[in-house]
């Protein structure tokens, strides 16, 4: 037997010391040249977990009354909660005290890496996230038949200082646009969106699948009696006549929904603001019937003096836009 000065206390003290000064080795270097201690696949997974991927819906909205049918709810994301998710995931496989102590030692660095990574989870169409770590994450839950009936809604959020009119065509690289961390349908009729920042305005638009033609309805008291109308458009520019000029569409009596195109065109032609000359051809007819994606705007209307304590006050503005149509007289 060899004589050594080895006592349990000394061993424990050394072990604790080792753990306290523990530095994780670099697991890899990511695409941007930063050293990372978490391997890529695990980092991705933890970042997606941080964005609530896979979290059962009952844990997001604990009571159905929080999200009744036909409602939209805005929220902040509680980062403490999402950190708890990650802590739970990291607790898997920590077998003994030293594992736990090491994990605790590394956790600040792990959290920073996931903060970095969560910005890269979505990246729609190769769009790069802003060059900073998200601080406040907000979002919205939309539960509506509009979600199930119109898959592929366009959702855009704009931060403080966004001043564009509700029907303005906002370019995708608008500086106020908030980066979207997640946009996903959780159920056929439930849409979840997470924004990086606090939105001042949120736009939800109909999906732009193809070009559609149609009318708008007014209901005449009795919900089953519908009065179709279209906004008159300037035949030379393709833009709506300002102010809104409603032209009611004549219907064939006894045939619900059957429109009399020729008479409608006559009415439009007689409306001098449409500048359509003496004859309305098929192209002009189509121009008048074009329906643009409907945009619903949530937010404070610009120019309102008193700041509203609730940043998501709805304004039921009714606007179309975003697709611009250039109209040109027929060739031949």
């Amino acid at each position: 037997m060899i004589e050594v000065n080895l006592t349990a206390t000394a061993v424990f003290a050394n072990a604790i010391d080792l753990v306290k000064t523990f530095q994780a080795p670099v697991a890899e270097t990511d695409e941007l040249g930063n050293d990372r201690i978490i391997p890529l696949e695990l980092r991705r997974w933890l970042a997606r977990l941080r964005l609530l991927e896979g979290v059962p819906f009952a844990y997001l909205a604990a009571d159905s009354e929080l999200l009744p049918p036909e409602s939209i709810r805005f929220f902040y994301v509680d980062r403490r909660y999402t950190d708890a998710l990650v802590e739970g995931a990291l607790s898997v496989g920590t077998a003994n005290t030293s594992d736990r102590a090491e994990m605790e030692q590394l956790y600040p660095q792990i959290r920073d890496e996931i903060d970095e990574e969560e910005r890269y989870v979505r990246m729609p169409g190769g769009e790069l996230p802003p060059d900073r770590v998200s601080e406040t994450v907000t979002g919205m839950l939309l539960r509506s038949r509009a979600v199930s009936g119109w898959p592929g809604l366009h959702v855009r959020a704009y931060g403080a200082g966004f001043q564009a009119a509700d029907d303005a065509i906002v370019p995708d690289d608008d500086p106020h646009r908030l980066y979207m961390l997640r946009l996903e349908r959780l159920a056929p009729a439930v849409l979840l969106a997470l924004f990086d920042g606090i939105p001042a305005a949120v736009h939800i638009e109909e999906p732009r699948h193809g070009i559609q033609f149609g009318v708008r309805f007014d209901s005449l008291g009795d919900p089953s009696t519908l009065q179709p109308w279209i906004p008159a458009r300037d035949g030379t520019t393709g833009l709506d006549v300002q102010p809104l000029d409603r032209v009611s569409v004549p219907c064939r009596p006894g045939s619900p929904g059957v429109l009399d195109m020729r008479r409608m065109d006559e009415r439009l032609r007689n409306d001098l603001k449409t500048k359509m000359g003496t004859e309305v051809d098929a192209g002009e007819n189509a121009l008048q019937l074009l329906r643009f994606p409907y945009r619903q705007v949530f937010g404070n209307p610009p120019g309102q003096g008193v700041p509203d304590p609730d940043p998501f006050r709805p304004t039921p503005t009714l606007r179309i836009a975003d697709l611009e149509v250039a109209f040109q007289r027929g060739v031949q």
């Binding site: 050594v4 349990a8 523990f22 193809g210 009399d260 051809d281 949530f298």
Partner: protein
């Protein structure tokens, strides 16, 4: 010049340089000298174009999509064709010389019961009797749409409408969203003139309605199209509940009462719109009054509408080589009118080049949904939970107590503790109505880190537990555990990266520390592990209370028994029927165990069977039962008024307090 991306140009029409048909190219060469002649050359050219069937590659898209269901009531159905000249390819002579040119294609949208779609038949049968289209035909067989005069008058476009319903759209080929895979950037679009409306049932409630969109060939039948109505007859609104025509008859009525049917007094359904509209061809027939069958018309309608389940069952059960045809049949079931019905009406047939069906549901439009939304922050409760809109269902009666919400977004939920107590706890998910602050690093740059969910349970000022983050912790843990790949990645990471790192550093430190110096220098390091283990074990054993855990006593002391007599030995002896004094006396010599072994306990003696014994025993049993019942009834039990045999469930069927009850009561 093609339009820029995101833009498109609308053209009213595109006439082909050479309309479809057979041509002869006649060439002669005049050399200026009559003696030199060349033979004329006749080349035959046939310009083909679809006529009875649209090749699938010519259809770029349809709206609504085929077999779609949705609230399409404010949109005109349309079909987009690849070749820009298609709607004007055939120089079918219009009744009068029309400029702009009249397309030969029309997209008509008919509802269930307004017409009949045939199966594949020779093309000669695809037109109304008497209308003959000259060859060449592009296909030998095709399908046709057979509609009565009412439908034509009610639904078909007028000749004037036709000219504005087809147009050409020019797009940038690079714009994939608009070009849809076209080859030259010019698309022909044929619109319908009808906004499809949902149907109506017998109670005038809106129900989904199936529509069939048919791209039909109008060649030779332009004169059938309805004439434009004078301006005064037109209206600015329509009744969405009206029905143009419904030929789906109650076939049982047809069988039981063929005369009434043939005489025209039959079972056409709900023609209320015709009666109201006053169009020329209105045939208002009262469904129930005329038949006398008393069967509600909607029953027939129900049986006609094929459900997805029906279609599925056909698809599953049909023979493999017949599936295609049978499923198609089933899907267009609402558009098959019995020949007997069509036979008594004046009907028209139009060749159908392409057709698809879709269902218009009672859903509102996107706009109505978005404007009807209840807006708020998560955690706020809607003023009225009922959705807005005319078709909203009444809110179901609440079958549970109102939910508990706080301004902070917490929800009160029932909570069963580990002890089994039923309490209520607060829970708040990750989506909260107000900003929260995240944990920040302390002076050493460390963050609080939980290893188990219990570390995240907190108690709120009202004394209830807040399990929000504990719940989140468990969800994260379970999500990680649910994916073996994540567990494996975690283990690999721990082992490869910081497990290895920890081992490396331990070795390094051990090598530099004095305590291992001798061991390592003498090269006898193989004993180190054993030595460490022994020392650790001894250190742990020396002070187990601290290192391991306090010892638990082998047994827990029992509760003192409160006996009436006070002497346990006396009670046992009385119960078993022997003398305690005798045993105690013996115990002085033999010990208690020996004394007990020597003591006889009286046991009931087996009595030889007496012939009268059974009767006697039965009588005794009855007497005992009666006595017992009397005693029980007179005893004030926990459930007075109940019969002994009918004690409340969970009561054990025993109404009197016993020793156990007393013990329990004492425990409380």
């Amino acid at each position: 010049m093609t339009p820029p991306k995101g833009y498109f140009v609308l053209h009213p029409f595109a006439v082909p340089a050479l309309p479809s048909g057979a041509y002869t190219l006649h060439a002669e060469h005049d050399l200026g000298d009559t003696t030199l002649t060349t033979a004329p050359l006749d080349s035959h050219i046939v310009v083909t174009a679809p006529r009875f069937t649209m090749p699938p590659d010519q259809i770029l898209s349809t709206f609504p999509p085929a077999n779609a269901e949705g609230g399409f009531r404010d949109r005109l159905p349309q079909i987009v064709l690849k070749r820009r000249t298609l709607p004007w390819d055939r120089s079918a002579p219009a009744p009068d010389d029309h400029t702009p040119p009249v397309p030969w294609l029309a997209l008509v949208v008919i509802a269930e019961g307004e017409g009949s779609l045939s199966g594949e038949v020779p093309v000669a049968q695809c037109t109304t009797g008497g209308v003959v289209l000259d060859p060449p035909y592009d296909v030998p067989t095709s399908v046709y749409l057979e509609v009565p005069q009412t439908t034509v008058d009610g639904v078909f476009p007028t000749l004037d409408d036709l000219t504005v319903l087809s147009h050409v759209r020019e797009v940038d080929l690079a714009d994939t969203e608009l070009a849809m895979g076209d080859d030259d950037g010019f698309l022909a679009v044929v619109l319908a003139n009808r906004l499809p409306q949902p149907g109506v049932d017998a109670d005038t409630k809106l129900i989904p309605r199936k529509y069939l969109a048919c791209l039909i060939n109008l060649e030779g039948q332009y004169d059938v199209l309805p004439k434009p109505l004078p301006e005064v007859d037109l209206v600015d609104h329509f009744d969405a509940l009206a029905v143009v025509e419904d030929l789906r008859v109650d076939t049982s009525a047809l069988v039981t009462n063929p005369d009434a049917f043939t005489m025209g007094a039959a079972t056409f359904q709900v023609p209320k719109g015709i009666a109201a509209g006053g169009a020329g061809a209105a045939r208002a027939l009262d469904a129930t009054a005329a038949t006398g069958t008393g069967q509600p018309a909607s029953a027939a309608a129900k049986s006609w509408a094929p459900s997805p389940r029906d279609i599925e069952s056909v698809a599953v059960s049909a023979a493999p080589d017949e599936v295609g045809r049978l499923v198609r049949d089933q899907m267009s079931a609402g558009f098959r009118i019995p020949a007997a019905v069509l036979a008594v009406l004046r009907t028209y047939r139009f060749p159908v080049l392409a057709h698809w069906s879709f269902t218009v549901t009672t859903d509102g439009t996107f706009e109505t949904y978005m404007r009807g939304l209840d807006v708020g922050l998560l955690g706020s409760v809607a003023a009225s939970a009922a959705p807005a809109g005319p078709n909203a269902l009444p809110a179901p009666p609440s079958s549970r107590p109102p939910a508990e919400f706080t301004e902070t977004g917490h929800v009160g939920l029932p909570h069963q503790t580990r002890r089994g107590d039923h309490v209520r706890a607060w829970y708040r998910g990750p989506l909260v109505p107000s900003p929260t602050t995240r944990e920040q690093r302390d002076g050493d740059g460390r963050l609080p880190f939980a290893h188990t969910s219990d570390q995240l349970r907190t108690t709120t000022p009202d004394g209830r537990e807040d399990v929000s983050r504990a719940g989140g912790f468990e969800i994260g843990r379970l999500l990680a555990l649910s994916q073996p790949s994540v567990v494996a990645a975690m283990a690999r990471w721990r082992r490869d990266s910081f497990g290895a790192e920890a081992a490396r550093r331990l070795a390094q430190q051990a090598a530099s520390a004095d305590m291992f110096a001798n061991t390592l220098q003498t090269g006898q390091s193989h004993d180190l592990g054993r030595l460490l283990g022994r020392d650790l074990l001894l250190a742990a054993a020396a002070n187990t209370d601290v290192v391991l855990a306090p010892n638990r006593p082998p047994t827990d002391p029992g509760r003192p028994l409160d006996l009436p007599g006070g002497d346990l030995g006396q009670v046992v002896a009385d119960g078993l029927g022997f003398s305690i004094d005798q045993v105690r006396k013996l115990a002085n010599n033999l010990g208690v165990a020996g004394a007990l072994r020597q003591t006889a306990v009286p046991v009931s003696v087996q009595v030889p069977a007496d012939p009268a014994a059974p009767e006697l025993r039965a009588a005794l049993d009855v007497a005992i039962d009666r006595l017992a019942a009397d005693v029980l009834r007179s005893t004030p039990g926990p459930t007075p008024g109940l019969q002994p045999g009918l004690a409340a469930p969970g009561d054990g069927g025993d109404s009197g307090p016993d020793v156990l009850d007393e013990l329990l009561r004492e425990d409380r």
